[in-house]
Symmetry: C2
Subunit: 153 residues, 2 copies
DNA sequence: GTTGAAACGTGGGGGCT
DNA sequence: AGCCCCCACGTTTCAAC
């Protein structure tokens, strides 16, 4: 069987490969191969292994929200009273693709979300929807100071 | 001149292309071409335009932090007293690659950060460093409920 | 992990509507 | 201006080593 889920130790070459493919997700196997000083075939084998072990979970183009019309970014913290509100939250998440990130956390705020919006009117529409689940507090984002890939120690 | 920064209206085909390349950042031009029902050349031209306009800012592999040894994820909010503490924050961000995201926001908490850590000991080391800049509050993340690409409306 | 050869995808130029 | 076809070249794939 092609053991796809086994946890294997990552050596230095794997680390270099992960680092390279995080920096440039569209780098060709040949590019990656010279970077990690291996043959193309060996590079492909390692990359496939990382994908099958679900260490690499996806490849994605990054689209600048501002460049496609989202002038605003906000962080919304939401508290829910009762037990788990996963269903309600899932519904809102599905209704609003502009909620680009949602974390369930410890502490006062049970959910933390990051939202992109074309303007305040647009943001209000989404927060109104969220406020029906639980009390929220909204902060606008001045600047994305850092957005770094997963470090590979 | 090769006008690289002009804002151009994105048509339906561009939207489809952005959506496709966000879903699979490693899709070949041929794959993308059939998806958006265009020739390979036209697809390539549009993709290059999106890159040159900085609408597509990067391509990256997504690495699962848990799979590479980070058992914990935390959200840290930090308040700074005086004017701008960009220099201090930049230093800490550089010292700790495990701070994977940092936003400067309105409201009480001036900075919001997302941190991955191998354990509580590891997390403590980073928060101790942050606490020297300003008062912080730390929440652990139970679950990443959603992590969605930028919607293209 | 490496090599090699066939299949496939890519990038530029010309011609089309 | 934008798209399509063509062709040389680079890349990926899959064998055998």
């Amino acid at each position: 069987m092609t053991n796809g889920g086994a946890l294997k130790e990552l050596d230095e070459t794997d680390h270099a490969l992960l680092e390279a493919v995080q920096r440039d997700g569209r780098a060709t196997l040949s590019d990656l191969a010279v970077e990690i000083r291996l043959s193309v075939s060996a590079t492909r084998a390692r990359l496939r292994a990382l994908e099958e072990q679900r260490i690499i979970t996806a490849y994605a183009a990054h689209v600048d929200p501002e460049a496609v019309g989202y002038a605003l970014r906000a962080v919304v913290r939401m508290k829910v009273n009762g037990p788990l509100f996963d269903a309600e939250v899932a519904t809102v998440l599905e209704r609003h693709p502009q909620i680009v990130r949602c974390l369930r956390v410890t502490g006062e705020s049970c959910y933390m979300m990051e939202i992109v919006a074309t303007g305040l009117r647009d943001l209000e529409e989404i927060t109104d929807d969220l406020a029906q689940i639980g009390p929220i507090s909204t902060d606008l984002v001045y600047e994305v100071v850092a957005d770094k890939p997963t470090p590979v120690p």
